[in-house]
């Protein structure tokens, strides 16, 4: 097997533990359930037909469904997500939740503008439609059959960030960073939504060095994201960088990308390992406390 082939094999089909699979599976189900429950879909019901431009997968719609239908899809989706978290018929439950989320996000995007807010979570969750359902979380051996959904979701996520950076370079060149682009992104603000921290956006826009540094950070993170597939110890750092990017985007442009932030953090941080580390740390602190409490007292 060539080196490249071995690397691709490891990136896509590498092993993970059953516990990590269970955590990511439950986490994605929770995220999908929250997006379905908290999304403002019901308000779309009375959209005038002239303003409805259905996305291709909903191309048969000539108007938005009624509020009752939308709420019905939300209820089914949330119940299915809860069932997936509780592992009640998990494969069917996850598929139903994912499908409801796809339809609802599609409805939200059926107003002319291509919306990406829900797409990372939808795409990263897709491999989990066929994830193994018989999972023994006490099995401490990392296995490929547990690992592949997580690894594939990671590759998809890394490619999505890379493609976002690639199109910036393809359509605008390096001027996207070195020119006045970020200054005007900040000063114009969002075409939809409102900045939560407008003075911050204006400050960045008025300080060209800060605007260029922001542009370099965004493009740098996006274009280099696939590095995490080779250098795995960078995964948590890239996850934190992506979370920072999406949180600051919300503050300065008011754009709702929290599903992206949560998806990246869920996939690229090994939460069972973090829990083990915290347990060890607290055990260590307790041991130190105990040893201090039982220090032999001179003269006793």
């Amino acid at each position: 097997m060539t080196r490249l082939r071995r690397w691709v094999d490891e990136a896509l089909w590498g092993p993970e533990t059953a516990l990590r699979l269970a955590v990511v599976y439950a986490g994605l189900s929770v995220l999908i359930g929250l997006r379905i429950a908290l999304g403002s879909y019901r308000q779309l019901a009375d959209t005038p037909p002239a303003l409805v431009d259905p996305v291709p997968i909903l191309g048969w719609l000539d108007r938005m469904p009624s509020a009752e239908v939308i709420v019905g899809i939300q209820v089914v989706g949330v119940l299915a997500a809860v069932a997936a978290v509780l592992r009640r018929n998990p494969r069917l439950a996850f598929a139903v939740a994912w499908l409801c989320y796809l339809v609802l996000a599609g409805l939200r995007g059926s107003r002319g503008k291509v919306l990406h807010n829900d797409l990372l979570l939808l795409w990263a969750s897709a491999p989990f439609l066929l994830a193994p359902v018989a999972v023994d979380v006490r099995d401490r051996i990392a296995r490929r059959r547990y690992g592949w959904p997580i690894r594939v979701a990671m590759v998809i996520t890394a490619l999505v960030y890379f493609l976002a950076g690639y199109h910036k370079l393809r359509r605008s060149g390096i001027d996207w960073v070195l020119g006045d682009n970020m200054r005007y992104v900040m000063l114009w603000g969002p075409s939809i939504g409102e900045a939560q921290w407008e003075s911050m956006a204006r400050w960045v826009g008025e300080h060209l060095w800060a605007a260029k540094a922001s542009g370099a950070f965004i493009l740098g993170v996006e274009i280099s994201f696939p590095v995490v597939l080779v250098v795995r110890r960078l995964q948590a750092w890239y996850a934190l960088a992506a979370v920072f990017l999406h949180v600051t985007t919300w503050f300065v442009l008011g754009l709702d990308y929290w599903a992206w932030a949560a998806t990246v953090a869920l996939l690229f941080i090994d939460w069972p390992a973090v829990a083990r580390w915290v347990r060890r740390l607290s055990r260590g602190t307790a041991d130190v406390r105990e040893s201090r409490a039982t220090l032999p007292v001179p003269g006793a």
């Binding site: 896509l12 089909w13 533990t17 403002s40 308000q43 779309l44 009375d46 005038p48 037909p49 002239a50 303003l51 996305v55 291709p56 997968i57 796809l102 599609g106 107003r111 002319g112 503008k113 990406h116 797409l119 939808l122 795409w123 897709a126 491999p127 066929l130 401490r140 051996i141 990392a142 490929r144 059959r145 592949w148 959904p149 594939v152 998809i156 490619l159 999505v160 493609l163 976002a164 690639y166 199109h167 910036k168 393809r170 359509r171 605008s172 060149g173 001027d175 996207w176 020119g179 006045d180 682009n181 000063l187 114009w188 075409s191 939809i192 409102e194 204006r202 069972p272 083990r276 347990r279």
Partner: protein
């Protein structure tokens, strides 16, 4: 060496035969990568397939916006931000942007679709104008200001709605 409870046995290698990735998974992943990479690299959108062109066009001091102008009987007017309208109207800029090449009937339908919502917040509206705004950002003494340059694309009146309803 025995592992502590909850630790991972990193050196343990599972039996390759019982630890295979199912063929169905390989087919699914192959299909997903084709659906992700073809539009992703070419750069087209067929939602949920997408080119991922997020903020990819560099911005400058000019920007083409699509705006609503509510005009009263006395001729006074104000620009209505779609953000002031209910959620279902907030992406109206995109249907408006398609109007220059659209039929009169289509222009009228989009204008009337927005008119009711505008009248709800501006009851004195006698005419609604859909306009292309070649806006420019200029820095003055008091900070940055937007200089609007409106080109009216279509106009409709509340009376049109009544005719449509009749």
């Amino acid at each position: 060496m025995s592992a502590a409870p909850g630790d991972v046995e990193t050196d343990a290698v599972p039996d390759a035969e019982t630890d295979a990735v199912p063929q169905s998974a390989r087919w699914l992943v192959g299909a997903l990568f084709i659906l992700l990479l073809v539009p992703g690299l070419v750069g087209f959108d067929l939602w949920p397939l997408t080119g991922w062109r997020l903020f990819s066009l560099a911005r400058d001091e000019t920007q083409t916006l699509w705006v609503l102008e509510a005009v009263d009987e006395d001729g006074s007017s104000r620009l209505v931000d779609v953000e002031e309208l209910p959620l279902r109207y907030r992406h109206a800029e995109w249907p408006m942007a398609d109007l220059p090449g659209a039929s009169t009937a289509r222009r009228q339908a989009v204008c009337e679709a927005l008119l009711g919502a505008v009248v709800d917040i501006e009851p004195a509206t006698a005419e609604l104008r859909i306009a292309r705004d070649r806006a420019r950002l200029e820095k003055g003494d008091g900070g940055w200001t937007v200089i609007d340059d409106l080109e009216v694309i279509h106009t409709c009146r509340p009376a049109d709605l009544e005719v449509g309803d009749a």
